[in-house]
Amino acid sequence: MSEAKRAKTIEGMTGPWEIVIGLEVHAQVQSEAKLFSGASTTFGAEPNANVSLVDAGMPGMLPVINDFCVEQAVRTGLGLNAQINKVSVFDRKNYFYPDLPQGYQISQFKQPIVGEGEVIVDLPGGESVTVRIERLHLEQDAGKSLHDQDPNHTYVDLNRSGVALMEIVSKPDMRSSDEAAAYLKKLRNLLRYLGTCDGNMDEGSMRADVNVSICKPGAYEKFRETGSFSHLGTRCEIKNVNSMKFVAQAIEYEARRQIDVVEGGGTVNQETRLFDNKAGVTRAMRSKEEAHDYRYFPDPDLLPLELEDDFIARIKASIPELPDAKKARFVSEYGLSVYDAGLLVAERETAAYFEEAAKGRDAKAVANWIAGDLFASLNRDNKSIDESPVSAAALGEMVGLISDNTISGRIAKDVFVIMYATGEAPAKIVEEKGLRQVTDTGAIGAAVDEVIDANPAKVAELLKKPKLLGWFVGEVMKKTQGKANPQAVNDLLRAKLGDRIGE
């Protein structure tokens, strides 16, 4: 798909405009301990329960890198198909704030641990686009200022202070709020597959700084050709947006605001803005002129981070199958549609569920049951697939019962409802409720005869309206409480009514 076609245009008074979006995603590294201290990272602990002397910025305390966090960053970099930098450097970003006990944040400025990579983003329409990754670096999170504990004082909770974050910076490759949301979704999915971030946006494990600018059609293509940002409009950065919905809303609002500014004869100022999710608007926080001078310099308490080839190779070998590869395999191995495969790989747990259920079964049918009845039930109850009352094995077994004609697809719907409600095995339900499909042609034949005999008028109509056969099938099914094999019913009806059915 060409870039021009991708861009969604917004009509302004002076003609169409396009949006250009880049995201800086802060993803909390999944790790027991913090980036430079042994304190716990557990969410929801009592304020200041998870604070070491290092996290509190005590005099003479020194940071020591948590190797596991480094491993997680490398793992993520490999998952982003990115360059892993064998030498990276931790810098100090200096600024004063009460929730920053050291007076500086340890981050990576000039030499990040991960360089350029890419993410294939699946769009709702089934198409996909590539978003290029600029870099990924490791940094410390700050603590949290609590302004609502006392009318006159602010309290500080340092539980988050020093927690490891990966800042994943994309290039300005997204052209609509939908694409930005899809990118965020895909990134989250990828991190969860890798086990490097739990992706819990509600708990702040993932949040995004959104860079938005506008341009006239054609300008973006010039930017991509030349690499010169002069072709793009001035960008604004919307800080700390913490849900996919808000990311989309913030972009829509901000793009419209910038168009109105420019069309009103003004200029867009490069500035940092905040998204007010209650009002649905972005508000200026500080301009470029007011921007901090962070006085970055290499942290003299830490040596440059050097990675051995073996270390990287070992991590590479431990990387699980990622969503794109899994999706391709689901299409080729199980014969699923690209759409269904995409749906199933969107969460690692769903994909695993599917593969377990599909073992030795009709995979397409399993996929349909998951995407249909199972998802519907789970969504209704706000449950994740891990909490499903119907186990993968049970769902597989149920599909097996359909395949071997033990039950019909229609009966299976009822069986599924019972399985979901009780967690019981399908075979047991079928036996106890007497739902086994009747395949005995003698028994079905009797029912067929009864229906034919009782409805001569309908039989007469059949010659003109052959579709009426379905009505006969339904009547026979009713008589057998749905247990008759529908194919068998059909075959018998055709045999008995013969040429009385119209062409």
Partner: protein, 491 residues
């Protein structure tokens, strides 16, 4: 009792083991000497009760024939080392009343070796200074005087409390730290021995940071052998300090008796600095002659980038300090000058909490790290460090150890240089290069000035070759036969 305190650390150690006296006796003598010497203002905090308890515990161990290398020896601790439950000020008002809940790695090692803490020693505020005059707790006073002249002289800095206490026989040894010369220069002007080991030898964990890439702890003692004994207990790999080096710690004491026959002594020509008093160069020549007599080979070497060392130092050290001192913001511990407004609270706290020299260095450091200036200053200074390191690498191809003066002048009077920062900064001219490149350096007392004040010589060695410094230092010490002692005017 005070006769006991005139012993060297080695003699005290041997006497304790031989049960010639107890640690309780030694410690009581030291604690009363400390109290008596308050006019020297060497201590910020005295801990006689704690010292008595530690001495009793040491005596119990000694009685059982147990105990570490420093069992029962009274020591002074520079107030830059965090000591659990004992106020740690860094010589600054901003940390007044701060009692750490942790013990620095080095002091913990000293206590594990049996050392007894007499108290916390005065220093320049955050170790920034060469005269101990920037301390919020007032200057420490050098026990030495210019003959009968009662002008109060500085004990050097920043480890001025350490050098004064050791020179005045208040303790057998003291911890010190050296960022640009803060162990060697005060040792030189008080007639004591001070060694800054190779960067990475001693853990920085729990030592209040000044400039992280330069700071290194070491001992100040009365003899080279004592420095060897004490340094061995301070060194060692610490996983809590990422810049700590995982290397075996040699028996430094064993090096002290070695010969220098055939050892190549480098004499860097750039260390002959214009304007330095003749007696400093004269003593240097004397040192060269002593080592030659002892069988060493004298080689002239060149360290061409020496003149850039001090300017580079005064960019790197303030840059790191400006960031290291950001944590003293009135939010968590120490001084807070309250306000309804956060920025005002920061400003008031830091204005009241930091002295002029510290503020000056924070300003310099903030400036050189600012956008637009970073490359011209900080990056350039780092390049200078590389050039200086290359100088030393080339020099050490021709020689095994370098001999230089330790300080450009004997002790000066209080207030004589404090209004002229540049002339104050020049006190580190011989010592600062070793910090920039992480090399070990030792100052050994070698003679007296015309005014009767101690002067020292410095030896700079290859990285992790402290043994050659102890060997050569001991030879110098024997040749110089420095036996001078300050008169005990304070008691």
């Amino acid at each position: 009792m005070s006769e006991l305190l005139k012993m060297t650390m080695a003699e005290a150690r041997d006497g304790l083991r031989a049960k010639a006296f107890s640690s309780a006796e030694l410690t009581a003598a030291a604690s009363s000497a400390v109290a008596e010497a308050r006019p020297l203002n060497a201590f910020i905090t005295e801990t006689p009760e704690q010292a008595a308890e530690m001495a009793a515990a040491s005596d119990a161990k000694l009685a059982r024939g147990e105990g570490g290398a420093l069992e029962g020896i009274p020591l002074g601790i520079k107030d830059l080392f965090c000591t659990k439950g004992v106020q740690t000020t860094a010589g600054s008002r901003i940390l007044q009343g701060f009692k750490p809940v942790y013990e620095s790695t080095i002091t913990a090692k000293l206590w594990a070796a049996g050392g007894v803490m007499l108290g916390k020693l005065n220093l320049d505020e955050f170790a920034m200074g060469s005269s101990n005059e920037t301390s919020y707790y007032g200057p420490a006073i050098n026990p030495w005087r210019r003959g009968n002249d009662d002008t109060k002289l500085v004990p050097g800095g920043s480890s001025g409390g350490s050098s004064a206490a050791v020179a005045a026989d208040l303790c057998f040894g003291a911890t010190a730290t050296d960022t640009g010369g803060s162990i060697r220069q005060p040792a030189a002007v008080t007639g004591t021995v001070g060694i800054k080991p190779t960067y990475g030898r001693c853990s920085r964990w729990g030592v209040v940071a000044f400039a992280s890439s330069l700071d290194q702890a070491g001992p100040i003692t009365r003899t080279v052998k004592d420095a060897a004994i004490m340094l061995r207990e301070m060194c060692g790999y610490d996983p809590k300090d990422s810049t700590s080096v995982d290397m075996a710690v040699p028996d430094f004491e064993a090096s002290c008796g070695g010969s220098v026959k055939g050892l190549r002594i480098g004499v860097p020509k750039e260390y002959r600095i214009e304007g330095v008093p003749e007696e400093v160069d004269h003593l240097w020549d004397q040192g060269i002659a002593w080592l030659k007599e002892a069988g060493a080979e004298i080689v002239e070497v060149s360290l061409p980038h020496t003149k850039y060392a001090l300017p580079a130092y005064y960019i790197v050290a303030p840059a790191e300090a400006s960031s290291n001192l950001s944590r003293y913001d009135g939010v968590k511990y120490g001084l807070r000058v309250d306000s309804d407004d956060l920025t005002t609270m920061y400003e008031q706290t830091r204005a009241a909490g930091f002295g002029r020299e510290v503020q000056r260095r924070i300003l310099i450091g903030t400036y050189v790290l600012s956008a637009g200036y970073y490359d011209a200053y900080y990056i350039k200074a780092q390049k200078v460090r590389t050039l200086i390191a290359n100088d030393f690498t080339a020099a050490f191809e021709k020689c095994d150890v370098l001999l230089t003066p330790a300080s450009p002048s004997p002790a000066f009077g209080i207030g004589e240089k404090s209004n002229d920062p540049i002339s104050m900064y020049l006190n580190d001219v011989y010592t600062v290069t070793a910090n920039l490149v992480g090399l070990p350096g030792i100052a050994v007392p070698a003679g007296l000035s015309k005014t009767g004040l101690p002067l020292g010589l410095q030896l700079i060695g290859r990285a992790f070759d402290e043994e050659t410094l102890f060997r050569t230092g001991a030879v110098l010490e024997r040749a110089a036969n420095f036996t001078g002692k300050p008169g005990k005017w304070w008691a």
